[in-house]
Each structure stands twice: as C-alpha cells, then as structure tokens.
C-alpha cells in the first residue's frame, strides 16, 4: 500500500511532505524556452539544470535544452563569476543562440553572485543578448520563477520607442501548456487583434517530428516582438501569480497599461477575456467564437446532472486552481478542498490573497471549503480522509492520493508525467472548457460504470 498518510490532522512546522510546488529556477527555464532562439542558462550546480531538464522533459516529452555554470567547490567559495563568464563565451561559441537567459539558483544567490555586473563584464558577441532573472529557490515556487523571468524579458528587452502606442495587445499567458498558448493566440487572432505573446512555448515544446533535431525549434516569442511590447496600447496578464508582475513592470517602464485577468479556464473567465478585448479594441466577437460558446453551454446543460453536488478536491498552481475552481462551480460541483504549494501572495504583497479569492468564489455559491496556499499534498490527503470527495483534479502527483482513497482523478496542470498529449490540448478558452467537461465527465462516469452492479449498469447515461 502506498498510503502512508494518517487521518489525524497535526500542526507541522518542519517543512513539506509530498510538495505541491517546486523551485523557482525551473519556472524561469520554462519561461526562457518561450523566447525564439534562446538558451536558458542555470547559474548553479550541474544537478539543478539536469533536474529541471528531466522534469520538463517528462512533462512535455520534448528535448529541453539548457546550459549550466557547472559550479564546483571553488566557484562556491570564490564566487561563480568566472564560471558564468566562461559559460557566456561558450554558449555563444557553441550553440549560437540570439539570447541567453540566465537564472540563478539557491547556491549562486546564497554566495551572493552579482549577475548583472558579471554579465556586463562578460564577452557577449555583437548583436547577441544576455538577460537574467534572480530566482532563489528558497522563495516562492516555480510560478515565482516564471514570473521573475518574464520580468527579466521586460527589463532587458521591451522598449517604448514609438510616439503613439500601437493598436496591439501584449499577452502574458502564464505558466500554461503550449497548447493553451496556441488557443489564446487563436482567440485573439479570430477577433482580428494584433498581439504579442511572451513567453510563447508553442512551436518549442510541442514541435513536430521532422527527423531532425533542432537545438532551437521554430517557435517562441521573437526578440523584436518583445522589444515592441513597449509600444503596445495594452498588456493582458493572464493569471495574477505568473504574469501580473511583469505586466506592471512594463506599465512602469514603458507606460503600457496593464490589466490582469484570470487564466481563461472555463466559460466565465473566457467571457471576461473576450469582453475585455472587445472593449479595448472595439471589435466584434466573431460568430466562430459565439458558436463555440454556445456549444459549450449546450454540453454543460446536456450533462449538468452528472456534476451536480459532486465534491471535488483541486490542487496545483494558483492561477490554474482559481480557474478550475470557478469552472467546476459553474458546473454545479462543490470544490471542498483547494490547495496550492505556492505561497498565497507575491513577495511583499498582502497576505492570503489566494485563499481570500477562492473563498469568495465559494461563498458566492453558498459553499464553504478548505482553501490553502503554501500547503502540501500530505495535508490535502489528510483533508480528503476527513472529508471524502468524488473527484480529484491536479498534477500527476495526485495519483497516490487517488489510488489510496479510490477516487476518480483528472490530470491537469504541471507536471503531468504519466500521460501524453496534454501539452497539445488546451484547457483554456471555450474549446478548453469543453475538453475539461469531457475529462471530468469521463472520469466520473467511468467510475460509475466500473462500480455498478450488473443490474445497475446503464447503457444511456
């Protein structure tokens, strides 16, 4: 039995058991992969880079390229400046990217390497760029790291050069799959709105098989486009935790107004995204999207009786669980446990934002539930033991709980390492919501079929 979790809740102060988060640098690496022709670089020990690449590879099933400063004991005593300078020289000499995106690790942060100064004194070939983000692993989570690297893109690249702002929108998609990024782009495209998405991992981590290996696949946000983001008339940050800091930085640096919306998971959040675009750009929403919305509502009404009153436990990254919670509420389900490993507020921000926001959603539906940021899956498992649920939604690590408690399980979020195709299939937009309905409903009904006595097995459900 894999069930090592006791039911009785105990106060704990000594760390995490079965974490629902990982460390900043992997988020920074993922964000950096969303720049075209960019080599992410891990300034720390070799293991960090190897672990991040392996972890991303397990989720995306794609080659994940990144270099490392390969710290030794010497570097840790005398500083990693020499290693980083050598690395910068070698990366451009060997791999020839347009951009090298350096992120730090707990090691280089703790010994106090001054990365911007090191970069300034390094030999960077003409026309090439080195950007950086500080991503100490002992703060925040992989979502914080993603956010910090996107801020790095804004700091180093985006510039306000045009006199008037252009009729274009910057979209920061958040820590979502390339399939989600494609879907968000399709929505903007179908409204005929010019957009700049960064980072954009579509075409990088969902690249087609051609019989050739490309160190830098065809996708990713172009550096020129990110530069031009300073001239846009609006930045849309999708997801408060992964995207809004960079949007606000862009607002400060280049006077591009920033609006933060929820990650467009579910009907309500997608409506909000489209309504905002319509308002800001004075565009009609095309019939194509109206039809998709109508189809989604049609399916939701067709099978709402499958969902009504079902208890759900949801865990994952903050922006994702906010969207999922809102959507399952709209299906008539009861999200009684919602948990993330990421701290609930950005650094220095007001405490407990996430808990408040989700509790408010629950309250608006007349529900109460356990909601926690900076939690772990041990705790979630204990909650479920104390108040059982009909469905669990979260990343691959949920499978232990699903098995121990024998609950249907929908895999969503990062990482998903035991199934494939998820990087290609969106959960955002109306199409993504339709897919979520299919996943949730299949999980629930497969279970009902499995458990039904012969006489109760139904053909039509």
């Amino acid at each position: 039995m894999l069930d090592c979790t006791p039911k009785e809740l105990i106060e704990r102060t000594g760390g995490m058991i079965n974490p629902a988060k990982t460390c900043q640098p992997i988020g920074a690496m993922y964000a950096a992969l969303g720049i075209h022709n960019c080599m992410p670089h891990s300034h720390g020990s070799q293991g960090c880079c190897a672990y991040h690449r392996s972890h991303l590879t397990r989720h995306f099933r794609e080659p994940v390229m990144a270099t490392t400063s390969s710290f030794t004991e010497g570097a840790s005593v005398f500083g990693g400046g020499g290693n980083l300078k050598t690395a910068i020289k070698n990366v451009f000499a060997i791999y020839n990217p347009d951009v090298m995106a350096v992120h730090t690790t707990c090691l280089s942060e703790t010994i106090g390497d001054d990365v911007p100064t090191i970069i300034k004194s390094a030999e960077v070939p003409e026309g090439k760029l080195v950007i950086h983000a500080n991503t100490p692993s002992y703060q925040g989570s992989h979502i914080t790291g993603f956010s910090n690297m996107v801020k790095g893109m804004v700091t180093y690249l985006a510039r306000a050069t045009a006199e008037d702002k252009k009729e274009q929108v910057n979209i920061i998609p958040g820590f979502v799959n390339p399939g989600d990024m494609r879907e968000i782009k399709r929505l903007a495209d179908s409204m005929g709105i010019k957009f700049i998405m960064f980072p954009d991992t579509s075409g990088v981590l969902d690249s087609p098989m051609t019989g050739k290996f490309h160190m830098f696949p065809a996708g990713g946000a172009r550096v020129d486009d990110i530069r031009d983001a300073g001239n846009s008339k609006l930045t849309l940050a999708l997801g408060y935790y992964a995207s809004s800091d960079a949007a606000h930085l862009l607002e400060r640096n280049c006077q591009v107004p920033a609006v933060t919306l929820k990650t467009p998971i579910g009907i309500k959040a997608t409506d909000e995204l489209l309504m905002l675009l319509r308002g800001k750009f004075v565009r009609e929403i095309p019939y194509e999207l109206e039809e998709e919305r109508g189809q989604l509502v049609d399916v939701m009404t067709d099978c709402h009786h499958h969902f009504y009153g079902k208890k759900v436990a949801i865990f994952g990254d903050p922006d994702i669980i906010i969207g999922l919670t809102e959507f399952v509420l709209s299906l008539g389900m009861r999200p009684v446990h919602v948990l993330t490993g990421t701290p609930g507020a950005t650094l220095g921000g007001p405490k407990g934002i996430l808990e408040k926001e989700i509790k408010a959603m629950l309250a608006a539906s007349g529900l109460e539930g356990r909601v926690k940021a900076a939690g772990d899956l041990f705790e979630l498992h204990q909650w479920i033991k104390n108040e059982p649920v009909d469905l669990l939604m979260g990343n691959t690590y949920g499978k232990y709980i699903a098995r121990a408690e024998d609950i249907p399980f929908v895999r969503v979020g990062f990482p998903v390492m035991d199934r494939s195709t998820h990087p290609y299939m969106p959960i955002v937009g109306y199409r993504g919501a339709l897919r979520l309905v299919e996943m949730i409903s299949s999980a629930l009904l497969d279970r009902q079929d499995r458990d039904a006595a012969d006489e109760d097995l139904e053909l039509v459900m």
Partner: protein, 471 residues
C-alpha cells in the same frame, strides 16, 4: 571563404573527451573530469548520485535538507520496487526559506525530524545535505546525533551538497552513509557466520522493475542466499546484517566499488564484479560465483540452470536476432560498466554499437570499452546533445539507449529508444531480462511509427519549408 560558423569543434577541451576507435591510441580519452561551464551537459550533481543510491532503502525516511526543488525532482522517480514498506516513495523536505538561509536551518531540520519520526514508525532517517546547506554551514552531524539520541533510532547525515563534486562523489557520500549504517557496535572485524549456506551481499542493483528479485532467485537455485541487496528493496534490519556475508558481488561498480573495498578492509568480505545483462554475462557471473565458493555441487547446479534457462529463452532471442541483424545502436548511459555490458548484449541480438558514451565512466572502464568496440566506434565522455546528435547521425544509428533526457532527442531524429535508467518498465537483467531487452529493442526499432517519419506524408508536404511565416 570561411564564415565564422560556430560549432562543437571550437571547444578544444571537448575534443579530448571524444575518440574514434582505430584512429587514436586508447589512453587518450579524457574522463572523470569536471564539465565545462556553458555546455548542455547531461550530467547531474552530488546530491543526485547520493539520492539514487540510497533511495531504494524502503523503510527509511529520506529527508532532503534544503529548498524544495531537490526533494520535488527526486520524488519517487527511481522505479525501484519494494516487497515491504513504501515509505521511501514519499517526498520529505525541510523546504528552507529565506530566513532559514540567513539564520541557519538547523532548528527547522531538528523540528522536521521530530515531526516525521512521530508520524512514521521508521528506524532509519537519511538526511541529505544540498547546495545551500553546504554554503550556510548547518552542522548536520550535530543535529543528527542529537536527534538520534532523542529518538533512539539511526539518523544518518549524507554529505551531498551539489557543488562538492560530480555524481560519483554522491555515490561515495551514499556509500559512506551506508557504512555508518551497517557499522556494528565495537571494533569492525570479520564476522563469523554460523549458517552453512554461503550468503552474498548483492551490491549495485536497485531492483528497477524487480531485477534484484530475478537475480536473487537464480542465486537461490544454485544454493546461495542473498544476505542483503545494496540497495534495491533493502531495509534497515537487512542492511545491518551486511557484515555477515561470505562474499560481495557487485553489479554497478560505478556506485559501489568504494563500498565493496571498504567492506573488504573492515569486515574481510572479498568482492567480485558480476554482470547480469545478457546471456553470456549472466552465465559467466554465475560460474564465477560458484568457482569462487569452490563448491562442485554448486557448479553442477549453475550449469544446469544455465542450460535450462538458455534453452528456454534462446528461441525467442534468435527470433529477435533474425529481425534485428545488422542494425546499429548508440549507447549513452551513466556508468562505464553498464556500457560494457550493453555492447556485449547488443552483439547477442545481432546489433553493432557504433557510438558509446557515459556520464561518469572511469579510465579503466573506457579502456575496456575501447578494447571490445569495433573499429570506427565513437567513444565519448560527458557528451552533450549536439554531440549525441552528430555521431548518431554520422554513424547511422537506428537506436539509442539512454535516460530520460535523451529519449526525445532520439525520437526527434527518428531514432528508436530504450530507457536503461530509472524509467525502465521491464526488468532487463538475467535470462528473462535478456528476452525483455530483445523484445524492447525489436518493438521500438521495428515499430510502424517510424514509417511516417521517414517519408513525410509521401511527399505531400513541403518538409517544413513553409513553416512559421514571420509575423
């Protein structure tokens, strides 16, 4: 006209780590060296080495002292099976925060141990040091000693800060922890065994997909008892009995040679290298064990087992061999000994190895690799993806053997792949493993999916020439 097209060759340091058999003298390969900063190295760190060796100890609390990442990335990734406790499949971390880094993490570590020991009835805790802990100087020894006394159980620090060396240094840190664990009270000395049945410690099998069980069964059939496996499916009590063994047999030398040597020095247990990969190596290893124990009856049983098992699997191996004859393989694995075994095992199924490399192979292993390779085989240490791509393509490899990071690289090139690492799904050891290996090679090399990659849509498409219009 020369344009400055940068390529791999600019790094002269890397050239010393690559050779082609027949073109250079064999002692030229540079290995066991630090990686170059700025390379896409496939290597990992000290912590990784220590963790992979110790993780299969099933009933231990594996507590990672550091920020969350190191524990997250190593949560239940080894695929090593347990016949008892599943405690090792949980992820425990002190989740150090900024304050802990500034003021020290010792108190939090002590609290974490107290809380975990209260929750889980474990007799053994491994506390892994990570990079930050090495820099801020937490006294792991002192915290573990105090906690050990408080709780009356073994709490062993593992000195595995990532930057103090490479993965091999981690193997050694793990072996040091194991030596502390098995240390009997009093002076270390040879232990007199009362049991007349010879017993062995089986070192360097991590029971991936249940491999150690298969080998244990063979040994039982020839009249040898497995005292304990280091560390596949092992537990606290069994490991404590290690000094009682007659002989140490060792599969993964890269991680275990040091432990074997120390056990010989401390407890007078001789050790022997074995390999259970492929029919020939499996037979040779069983014969060597019987010869060493010098037991005629055992020798007879070994021959009988070899005859029976070989007869059982030979037709299947021959079947796959006939399908695979003439195919070419590339090998890139962690340690040198596995690479050597794989070359021999590929020969058994009619496949030539045209490229072979390791992350942490040692000099003498590279000598052997060179000796058994065909002329023209590329041999390389600490390779990066560009090198793997280049030599697989140049040599026309049909198959790559590697770990998690190499898989999608091979697929992108239209090359088949086998995981010979943590993610393996079938046992690859012994006779049954030899058949599994042949079947896995066949099922990937001869899969229908490759048909669609080689001729893109039968020429329907422009082979990517129309890709991605610039916006």
């Amino acid at each position: 006209m020369s344009t400055a097209v940068p390529n791999e060759n600019l790094i002269t340091e890397r050239q010393l780590s690559i050779l082609v058999k027949g073109r250079q003298r064999k002692n030229q390969l540079k290995c066991d060296a630090e990686s170059i900063a700025g390379c896409v190295s496939q290597r990992a760190c000290v912590y990784c080495g220590a963790r992979v060796v110790l993780n299969p100890v099933t009933d231990a609390i594996h507590l990672v002292h550091g920020p969350i990442g190191c524990a997250s990335y190593t949560w239940d990734i080894r695929g090593s099976l347990s016949s008892g406790s599943e405690l090792y499949r949980n992820s425990f971390s002190t989740d150090l925060k900024e304050n802990d880094v500034i003021f020290g993490g010792e108190k939090k570590l002590a609290r974490a141990i107290d809380e975990l020991v209260e929750k889980y009835p474990a007799e053994l805790v491994f506390v892994y040091s990570t990079c930050v802990v090495g820099v801020i100087g937490d006294d792991l020894e002192a915290v573990c000693r105090a906690a050990s006394q408080k709780h009356g159980i073994k709490i062993i620090p593992v000195q595995s800060s990532g930057f103090i060396g490479n993965k091999s240094a981690g193997y050694r840190a793990a072996c040091d922890a194991l030596l502390r664990l098995i240390e009997p009270a009093g002076e270390p000395r040879p232990v007199k065994r009362l049991n007349p049945v010879p017993s062995v410690n089986y070192l360097g099998d991590f029971n991936l997909a249940g491999e150690a069980w298969i080998i244990g069964d063979y040994l039982k059939q020839i009249g040898v008892e497995v005292n304990v496996v280091f560390t596949g499916d092992s537990n606290y009590r069994d490991l404590k009995k290690a000094p009682q063994a007659t002989l140490n047999i060792m599969q993964c030398a890269g991680s275990m040679a040091y432990l074997a040597r120390r056990m010989e020095e401390l407890y007078g247990i001789p050790s022997m290298q074995v390999s259970f990969l492929g029919l020939d190596d499996t037979a040779a290893s069983l014969r060597n064990i019987a010869s060493f124990l010098n037991d005629p009856e055992m020798k007879r049983r070994v021959e009988e087992l070899i005859r029976r098992e070989t007869a059982a699997v030979k037709p299947q191996i021959e079947h796959y061999r006939s399908k695979l004859l003439g195919k070419k393989a590339a090998v890139y694995v962690g340690g040198g000994f596995k690479a050597i075994s794989l070359i021999k095992q590929f020969r058994e199924i009619g496949i030539d190895v045209v490229m072979v490399g390791t992350q942490t192979g040692r000099e003498e292993e590279y000598q052997t690799l060179h000796d058994i390779s065909d002329d023209g085989t590329v041999i390389l240490d600490d390779a990066n993806p560009s090198e793997l791509e280049r030599f697989m393509t140049e040599k026309g490899a049909h198959l790559l053997v590697g770990g998690v990071k190499e898989r999608p690289l091979a697929y992108k090139l239209g090359v088949a792949f086998i995981d010979h690492n943590h993610d393996r799904k079938h046992p690859l050891s012994g006779y049954v493993g030899a058949v599994n290996f042949a079947r896995e090679v066949y099922s990937t090399v001869c899969s229908p999916v490759w048909k669609y990659t080689r001729e893109i849509g039968g020429g329907l498409f422009a082979a990517g020439k129309n890709a991605l219009p610039e916006r």
